[in-house]
């Protein structure tokens, strides 16, 4: 799994005991883990070092994880997993809307966190899809799968990795309905479960960004089935 250099993670949580335990757990799984215990700490560390993945706890005294995420995006390209309080559906949605790549309710089984970390890392690591499909063009949208860049009407569009992957999947199968199950599996690297609306949030976020660049109503919802990129 870690063929080359180990992935570097930054854990931001005010519970020092928990971060200690978690970093031990994750180190055992082959990651290099650094911990920060407040949003300000995290910013200082981030200013001097690059990470492959960030894990933010939302509930922190002082600035919350959401505040931190807001101040880092959109300049930050590193994927982020948010740890939310259980049952805080609103935090969850907010986190995704602000550009988190995934969320996880805390407390959780560390195996679950590990799975999410792996899934997100796999998602952002440049995957060579098919040599011919590196560059996808649909109307005014140009997606470069290699450099992970999207141009809309010749303007660069900043997307989170989840949004990017949604768009890529839809563009690869343009005109076809892509099911929510497939999207969840391929974009979030997990099985779709009942009441899981994460993929809907990513899609609606992507829609907004496209609409802001003049590509409104490109993604259609097909009730009970999934989403579809309308051909131009």
């Amino acid at each position: 799994m870690t063929e080359h250099k180990p992935s570097q993670l930054l854990l931001v949580d005010d519970d020092t005991d928990l971060t200690e335990l978690l970093s031990e757990y994750l180190s055992n799984e082959g990651y290099q883990v650094l911990c920060a215990h407040s949003a300000d700490d995290a910013e200082t560390i981030l200013a001097g070092q690059r990470f492959d993945l960030l894990v933010f706890d939302i509930m922190m005294p002082g600035r919350t994880g959401l505040d931190l995420l807001q101040s880092l995006r959109p300049g930050l390209q590193t994927p982020v997993i948010m740890l939310t309080g259980r049952g805080d559906d609103i935090d969850r949605i907010l986190g995704l809307e602000m550009g988190a790549d995934d969320y996880l309710a805390k407390p959780c089984n560390p195996r679950e966190l590990l799975a999410r970390i792996r899934a997100v890392l796999r998602r952002v690591q440049p995957v060579v899809q098919a040599p011919s499909a590196i560059r996808l063009v649909q109307g005014g949208i140009v997606l470069d799968a290699g450099s992970r860049e999207v141009m809309v009407a010749e303007q660069p569009l900043t997307l989170t990795s989840a949004e990017f992957n949604v768009l890529m999947l839809l563009m690869q199968q343009v005109g076809r309905v892509v099911s929510k199950a497939e999207l969840t599996e391929k974009v979030l690297h997990r099985k779709l479960t009942a009441y899981d609306r994460a993929i809907d949030v990513h899609v609606s976020r992507l829609r907004q960004k496209l609409a802001a660049q003049g590509e409104a109503e490109r993604i259609k919802t097909v009730r009970g089935e999934g989403y579809q990129l309308v051909q131009h």
Partner: protein
Amino acid sequence: MRWFRSLFWKIFFAIWLSSLVMLAATVFIVSQVNERERVQDWLLESVRLNAEQLVDDYERSDGLSKRRRYYYHKRFARSFYQRWREHNGDHHDHRGRDHDDWRRDHDKRQEPPRIRIYAGDSERPIFGGRDRHTDGPEPLQLTVQSETGAQYRVEISSRAPELPLRHLFRFILSYQIVVILLATALASVLLTGLIVRPLNRLRDHTRELHQGNLASRAGDKLSRRRDEIGELAREFNSMADYVEQTLVGGQKLLQDVSHELRAPLARLQVAAGLAEQKLGEDDRLAGRINLECEQLNRLIDEILSLSRLDAQPLDAEPYALSGLLNELAEDIRFSAPQRVLHWPGVELSAMLPGNRALLQRALSNVLTNILRHTPDEAEIYLGVTQAANELVVTVRDTGPGVDEALLPVLLEPFVRAEGKKSEGYGLGLSIARRAVERLQGSLRLRNHPEGGLEVSVRLPL
């Protein structure tokens, strides 16, 4: 409550009837006395003139012949009847009629008074028989003076002229009684209102409190009163304070405890994960610890979401119920494809106000409850009907239903259907009910006549 059972009407009728009887009796007695005086007045008047003529006649002819006596008898009688008729409202001229005619034609019960006239203090009457009415009231006395200045005593003994019954009827139908009726009714409405209105207000506050508005208190107008109702209102307020403190405190405590449990639980889970790493993934003990942690997690989740419902905002945008139901049906088909779900997919134009997430939470809890507690063969019916001002969502299964005795308490927190090895904590349905109530709706359970549990959720439009 039947209308006549209400305190308002009871007090109203009691006050009205008693004051009506009192007033009517007073008016009746006063008018009776009045009447009697008037009768006496005209009786004396009718006698005086004739008596004066009689004594003059007596003095002039030094005694009265038999003919003159008879003549005066007739005169007394005629003028009595004349006045009697006038008194009873007959003003026709009946002069020249014999008093026997009067007797024949009219009031046979009314006899003319017996008149006796005494000269000075003498015991022997100069006119009138010796016999007296012994059963009648005290005779009226009258003194007349003759032209010579001699004093004569006139004794009028009569049965008090009886007031005929029609007087009473006339009284009952008179405008006086109508005025009395209205006045007493008005007075009793005012009095009753004085008592019943504050009671009703207090009842409304109590009802509000019971329906979950813990902030409901009797207003200043009630609690500043210095009477018993004011006392009751103040007692109510302190009771409501106590109830609010207890409930909110309990809820807060539960929420705080649950919240505080999360941090150590999170550490425990990671520690268990570390143990698992050392012992190997298929270690029985580590697995067990993880399982128990998961249980605790779910319990905390549910407690927190129960206490969080009250903090949910309601001013979110209106939404279409059919969209929400379609989504829920989709979730069921996805998460339990083995189940038979009947959902006609009704399109409703009505938009529901309030918080969509709350209703979604409530309905998905109801559905999850069915999935969890009924066998896979049980079919699920999801339906919605629209009434004048509400929408009714019904969720029904064809499972074994619920013990009737358990139905009323099943919506309370931590109540579970016994005998089933269920994994829940008995919070799902109470969360559903709380969420629906937060939306001003109601959630009811019943065993469907054809078997299975039916949950109906009423939502005001």
